[in-house]
């Protein structure tokens, strides 16, 4: 690390759980974030600030005025522009030391493996169960850890899946698309919740990279914003999981 790095990341380096080796690991890490929205925004901002060496942002959406209530990586003059490209510029301004790669395309079953391979950790902050299933299958194939976050109304959920043979995957938890699945557009979401849940995703990613503490691997963190309560429960591998059994 250069003297510049030592100053910039001093508050990480002083932590015994991160230290110099942990910061070095962050600087070498390559992560992909799918969904540059309510979750991908804060997750990407904190990972960029943390010095995460390479961040790929995958989102084909454009900034809509209705995003600005919670997607604080965007400003009002960004409306109508590509989310991944605008957010990549913001992250590079925040930390010029890192590499940010915008991919303004929609992840699907055909391109998932090629978009995600070459990364160390995948973050899923998408807004569709179908895309979540495709990401899950891709990380199982590529054997990559997945940090999965979800939002709705006042509720948030975060889990980490490690693509191991004996450990649960996302579809062990959600085997099929829930009928009448609600989107944020339909039922609403309180803006500040995106910061809570997206930051939790960044924190879990930092723990995975640096080896600090105990990650949410194989566990689900459930946050109830209305009650200001959270619980963490153990996930089970489903013996008949459609994706990993």
């Amino acid at each position: 690390m250069t003297p510049h790095d030592i100053k910039r990341y001093a508050r990480h380096i002083v932590l015994k759980e991160i230290g110099g080796p942990g910061q070095q690991a962050l600087l070498s890490a390559k992560v992909a974030i799918i969904g540059a929205g309510g979750l991908g925004g804060p997750a990407g901002l904190y990972l960029a600030a943390a010095g995460c060496g390479q961040i790929t942002l995958i989102d084909d959406d454009i900034v809509d005025a209705s995003n600005l209530q919670r997607q604080v990586q965007f400003v009002h003059t960004d409306v109508g522009m590509d989310k991944s490209i605008v957010m990549a510029d913001t992250l590079k301004d925040l930390n010029p030391d890192i590499k940010v790669i915008p991919k303004s395309e929609r992840l699907d079953a055909q391109n998932a493996s090629s978009l995600l391979s070459g990364h160390d950790i995948i973050l899923d902050g998408t807004d569709s169960f179908e895309t979540r299933f495709i990401i899950n299958e891709a990380v199982l194939r590529l054997k990559l850890p997945l940090v999965s976050g979800a939002l709705g109304r006042f509720d948030g959920q975060v889990a980490v899946f490690d693509a191991g043979l004996e450990t649960p995957c996302y579809r062990c938890l959600v085997p099929e698309t829930p009928p009448g699945a609600e989107t944020c557009a339909e039922v609403g979401v309180v803006g500040a919740l995106a910061g809570v849940v997206g930051s939790m995703m960044a924190l879990e990613t930092i723990k995975l990279i640096t080896g600090a503490g105990e990650t949410l691997t194989g566990r689900l963190w459930i946050f109830d914003g209305l009650r200001a309560e959270s619980r963490t429960v153990a996930l089970s591998k489903d013996p008949l999981c459609p994706a990993c059994h």
């Binding site: 979750l39 959600v174 085997p175 829930p178 009448g180 989107t183």
Partner: protein, 67 residues
């Protein structure tokens, strides 16, 4: 037997009831939820065979998928 569901006490639950039976009893849509039993998620494919015990603490978790 007695169960605690989402923090609420339920009495007079038939002995031997399964997770699937309880969801039918409570008229909950099983495709939209996960069931947590004593701090562990019950795999969905085992709902029909997972027999509940007196004093089990259950939480019904609704799937969310927004981002």
């Amino acid at each position: 037997m007695n169960l605690v569901i989402n923090g609420q006490d339920y009495h007079d639950i038939p002995v031997g009831i399964t997770v699937a039976g309880l969801l039918d009893h409570l008229e909950l849509p099983r495709k939209k939820i996960a069931v947590e039993r004593n701090m562990e998620i019950v795999p969905k494919s085992t709902f029909d065979s997972a027999v509940l015990s007196d004093g089990d603490r259950l939480e019904i978790i609704h799937f969310i998928g927004g981002g």
